[in-house]
Symmetry: C2
Subunit: 455 residues, 2 copies
Amino acid sequence: MLSEQIKVVLTEDEMPRQWYNLAADFKKPMLPPLDISGKPIGPDALSAVFPMNLIEQEVSTERWIDIPEEILGYLKLWRPAPLYRARRLEKALGTPARIYYKNEGVSPAGSHKPNTAIAQAWYNKQFGIKKLTTETGAGQWGSALSFACSLVGLECKVYMVRISFDQKPFRKIMMETWGGTCVASPSTETEIGRKILAEDPDTPGSLGIAISEAIEECVRSDDTRYALGSVLNHVMLHQTVIGLEAQQQMKKIGEYPDIIIGCAGGGSNFAGIAFPFINDRMNGRDIRIIATEPEACPTLTRAKFRYDSGDVAMMTPLLPMYSLGHTFVPPPLHAGGLRYHGMAPMVSHALREGHIEAASIGQMECYEAAVLFARTEGFIPAPETAHAIAEAVREAGKATEEGKERVILFNWSGHGLMDLKGYQAYFNGDLGNYPLPDELLQKSEICMQGLPIPG
Amino acid sequence: MLSEQIKVVLTEDEMPRQWYNLAADFKKPMLPPLDISGKPIGPDALSAVFPMNLIEQEVSTERWIDIPEEILGYLKLWRPAPLYRARRLEKALGTPARIYYKNEGVSPAGSHKPNTAIAQAWYNKQFGIKKLTTETGAGQWGSALSFACSLVGLECKVYMVRISFDQKPFRKIMMETWGGTCVASPSTETEIGRKILAEDPDTPGSLGIAISEAIEECVRSDDTRYALGSVLNHVMLHQTVIGLEAQQQMKKIGEYPDIIIGCAGGGSNFAGIAFPFINDRMNGRDIRIIATEPEACPTLTRAKFRYDSGDVAMMTPLLPMYSLGHTFVPPPLHAGGLRYHGMAPMVSHALREGHIEAASIGQMECYEAAVLFARTEGFIPAPETAHAIAEAVREAGKATEEGKERVILFNWSGHGLMDLKGYQAYFNGDLGNYPLPDELLQKSEICMQGLPIPG
């Protein structure tokens, strides 16, 4: 036996065979999505955009949903993902806490996103769909969906926000290597794109515009559907393999976490690690579960719970969620995946019901933690992941102060090899924290007036 | 039991505890290195550049050398590396061959290079050394050594060829994230660098110049040594964990390869997968072992075996190896790690003794295979790795023609996420094959005159 085991690996036979659906266990049910007039919308209203098998998952309250064997076959490419004990980080921190992280950076696209990209591509294929459209900001989701479509056998069209398209040319090449098509948004390929370009040919684009283009292309054609990488219930569901594996891995080494941490943008990687543990907590486990977000985009910590649209152009239904307002434009953080105005309704509901906590962290503290992690644990984290690391470092510090042998588990959602510019800016002293001024928050409040607020 | 297992994983307990030294099993011993006057050099002559514990490994003929427990502790971060069955690639090729690949891209630096970087850093640290210097071309080795020095606790200084330094800024950021220092070579930090800059301020630099600078800084200081990422015997030794793990993994699933393939630049990843299987072959196994190199840099397939220097400035000893001549400048292939004029003396000797075969492949065929691999197996390969994939595809094709159920194993030496520009050039139709014209080969012959040729 090698001293100091650091990885807990599972075999393919030990993969979870079912996704866990937290919706089954909420005492108070979630509020329904609404149309723009404020009426609850049914499954049919979504059928032009999503295939019915995914819509069924979106509205399901079944506790366990079988993972089809073929999806498991694809996930096996990188799953089960290893669980690590961060022994060198612990030593550098001088903490009595035992720190564990689940490494989701081992997927071909480098993050947790393929967990749902594979599932969505497969269900669309089953439904007879030939092509998926989507939007991407920094490029993580567009890469993951291109990868998934390549394996499953679908066409993939990604509208990438123009400023990111220009700044991050390598993401586009990744997508093309997997056979996806990536165009800068606004593009000349949609009516809305042409309209916006006519008004402002030099626009940097926005996620809202890109969503509008992807949906426009999708509804134009019967065998095309749209895919979203976070926020929706079925996306949270697909990510629960992360936490289900982590539970098994912890059990294997006779450990159980006192604190579970994930960074939160739209909510999907957080949900992945957290939801199975929320179930344990409902069953009496004394644990804390923390969602960590940027100070610059404090959806869970400073925004209100309300009905809001998922995109700027209000093409999505109104969703019950914590939101900074759908017109909110966050500062230019490097953690592009955390620059989202809203939060997944399931994660929002879990916070309202008291199952989880939320914390916000400044960009500088995140990069400090990320560099410490890289220099002790070796793997270079994505800037989003750095928010989970920074929170783990904070909690380890508290354990040190209190002299407690606490067990901390966090989700290492992805590697930073495609995001090294942020590290360069950090080393050059060019980074800021971008705390959100009150007046910006109030502005985002104002823009929400007129939308129905749930009681 | 999940149908169609695709990964074979080992636990940390199953890691190899000893490196395999092929030098113990060569029937005809290898020729010694020579000094510039043609005299064999002893271990002491290397002591200004390498620590004595590594020099001992360099000259050792012990068959098995224990891997220190602390080195295993570092390697566990990503080892044992998974062995994959490439089922989707097989299906796309319609071959009866079963294709396996060893995924060395799972290391924090993304390639096999950390296997020796960790070992070299650790032995230097044990010897009381404070700082390592090295050169890097495309950046793989400089990244790996920075990573290793960060974990082990050494300073690291990397001289990066200026043209690569300018073209690949992300490699420099990777090194800095791990705490390494990376300067463009020629630099103003060495005499030779200043001299070259005075003569030609706009020089793009070369690997030869970078080696000269790294060695100059190293010999200037008692507690600084130099580290090389390939070519030398101790580097080959450290890489044998790859093949030793693969042997165990194959055994676990009741398989044994008929053909073993690795790409070869300096020779280290090829040696890693191949040497333990050469041992099996010496013991009667009927297998073929193939080193694959670029048509544009055909060291094993078209160059002569001779004594040659490892660098342009002839600062290294003369090594007995296949070489295109130390002044040979290969065409601008994207597989930067395979643009080396020589070949590791151990690999060269293995070819002369008939234990291995060599093949060369054009750049276009490699990218074609790499894209097919990415779209079936998901992982995007490095351009160097693409040479091993292309050879596996060729051999699978032969198996199809002959209707044989052949088992093919190749080393997937690293991922291509830092090398996406080559894919872009491929998709844009901007790539060529660069077959080496005879006159260039003859020119490299001429420049070798005057050096002693082994009988």
